[in-house]
């Protein structure tokens, strides 16, 4: 009798691919026992475009445009990682002004990503006016990007050998003013996230991941740093990060609240890094001449807003590459996601999927 009762209580609920809280389609089959999740089975592949096969059709200089268009939000990081790999293979030394400008744009991209994530998280637990407020602040960052590069999410400023556009001193002044105004308005929003009792009751103690388990599952980015592991790929010193002063931000609780705290602190840290970049910006050229074709292979690791991303490029001396492989942070965080969902209530699953900051177009390229 007890065995029969147990078998009747298990049900399988399909989550996604269409769901109001998901920005992109992912499918999970949730095995439930009485409203608590016992196991989750992922299924991806709704947005697979086969971008990696296009290396056969576009030469290595035009491929930057394809690499950038893998994802709309992490787009600058993809372009920058690919171009860095090719420059290392061809042994090009890019000028310091190009390195500082790339760092500045990468930090602005991190700011708009974290503001977008804060808005989506507020929407996931029903606080719609906070969601609208975060996205209104994000528009100010997008205006700064449109002013300097000409595009809001796809910038098209990276090329092999440096950058295609330069920035005038008036634009840098305007960026500094906008960041000062933005910081004051962001304080109100983030105080609500950290202090409001409704928000706390939904996020504290939910979805805990211990540091040992997070390391075993290969997680990366703010998801890992919220469990207490201090690892940030920006400390490797690529581009101009070696000359800026900052420390990785870590929190020790491992629950959804800790991940929120890490991203909020990173938002303010990015504002500070942009100010440091503009203060130290050197003059000079922004590109070097490129001759010949790449020959060899290399792998670059950079810190995207969502975590650690890898770019592996293999070239054979002709204009077309042999292989381009992009391992994105969400791909590495999916096993971690399945681990945190176990034991949660069905109503919290949507919010926990959002705490890994899923970018499914990057995952499936």
């Amino acid at each position: 009798m007890a065995v029969n009762n147990n078998a009747k209580k298990i049900s399988v609920v399909p989550f996604g691919p269409q769901h109001p809280v998901l920005p992109e389609p992912i499918h999970l089959d949730l095995v439930l026992k009485d409203e608590k999740v016992v196991y989750a089975l992922p299924s991806i592949g709704f947005v697979h475009r086969g971008l990696e096969k296009l290396v056969e059709k576009r030469d290595y200089e035009q491929f930057v445009l394809i690499a950038e268009r893998t994802c709309g939000i992490c787009s600058f990081g993809h372009g920058m990682g690919y171009v860095e790999a090719i420059e290392k293979i061809m042994n090009l030394d890019i000028p310091p002004r190009a390195k500082f400008l790339r760092t500045m744009w990468a930090e602005l991209a991190r700011m708009h990503n974290h503001l977008m994530w804060l808005g989506l998280q507020a929407d996931a637990f029903g606080f719609e006016s906070l969601f609208m407020e975060c996205w209104r602040l994000r528009e100010k960052v997008l205006d700064m990007l449109e002013l300097t590069t000409g595009g809001r999410v796809i910038f098209s400023v990276n090329k092999v050998g440096g950058l295609r556009k330069d920035v005038t001193p008036e634009m840098l002044e305007q960026i500094l003013h906008t960041i000062d105004d933005l910081e004051k308005e962001c304080r109100v929003v983030t105080d609500t996230f950290l202090g409001d009792p409704d928000v706390l009751s939904r996020m504290k103690g939910v979805g805990v991941l211990t540091p040992g388990r997070a390391e075993e599952l290969g997680c990366c980015g703010p998801f890992l740093r919220a469990s207490g592991v201090k690892r940030d790929c920006r400390m490797l010193g690529y581009e101009a990060y070696g000359e800026l002063k900052f420390e990785p931000i870590v929190s020790y609780d491992g629950d959804c609240y800790a991940r929120c705290v890490v991203r909020i602190e990173e938002l303010y840290q990015s504002m500070d890094l942009v100010r440091q970049c503009i203060a130290k910006m050197p003059g000079g050229d922004i590109d070097v001449k490129v001759k010949g074709n790449p020959n060899g292979e290399y792998m670059v690791r950079i810190e995207q807003p969502r975590g650690e991303a890898l770019y592996y490029v293999k070239a054979n001396g002709t204009r077309f590459l042999t292989r381009y492989r992009n391992r994105t942070p969400t791909y590495a965080n999916i096993p971690g996601l399945i681990e945190t969902i176990k034991g949660a209530e069905l109503a919290d699953v949507a919010m926990m999927i959002l705490t890994i900051d899923p970018c499914i177009s990057c995952t499936e390229r």
Binding site: S43, I44, G45, F46, H48, G50, E52, K53, K88, I89, M90, N91, L92, E215, E216, L217, G218, R231, C233, M235, L236, K289, K291, G292, N293, P294, N295, G296, E297, Y298, M299, R301, L310, Y312, K314, G317, T322, R323, R325, R327, Y331, A332, I334, P335, E364
Partner: protein
């Protein structure tokens, strides 16, 4: 500029930029078990097509901020054993290699049976 041209001419004599160890596919599980005993974590697995019916698979491991790689060579139709007995998270990468390249991988812990990536053509990158 001249140093760059020199480097592209002497492609073979340049120092390798990555730390890659070439091994035979029979010794794969031994090497991987030895690496995991030393507390390295798995970062990624990548397959490349290097010629008609010739493939390579590259495994990347990391500890702190350091990293190292292993590489095996395969011909079309050969099977390789899975490393999910040592690193349980390798199932995502190995299912993707099977779905896109058609390389057969034995003894996976979670075998999606070719259904992880929904493609219009079977084995599109092969």
């Amino acid at each position: 500029m001249s140093e760059q041209e020199k480097n592209t001419k002497e492609g073979e004599e340049k120092e390798p930029l990555m730390d890659i160890k070439e091994i035979e596919k029979e010794t794969l599980l031994d090497e991987v078990t030895r690496i995991s005993f030393d507390n390295w974590r798995l970062i990624q697995i990548c397959a490349t097509k290097v010629g008609e019916e010739q493939y390579e698979i590259l495994y990347t491991f990391g500890k702190g901020y350091q990293w190292k790689n292993l590489r095996i060579h395969l011909k079309k139709g050969e099977a390789v054993s899975s490393i999910t007995s040592v690193y349980e998270i390798a199932y995502l990468y190995e299912n993707e290699i099977h779905d896109l390249y058609g390389i057969h991988i034995d003894m996976l812990n979670y075998d999606f049976g070719g259904k992880l990536f929904r493609t219009g053509v079977q084995y599109p990158f092969a």
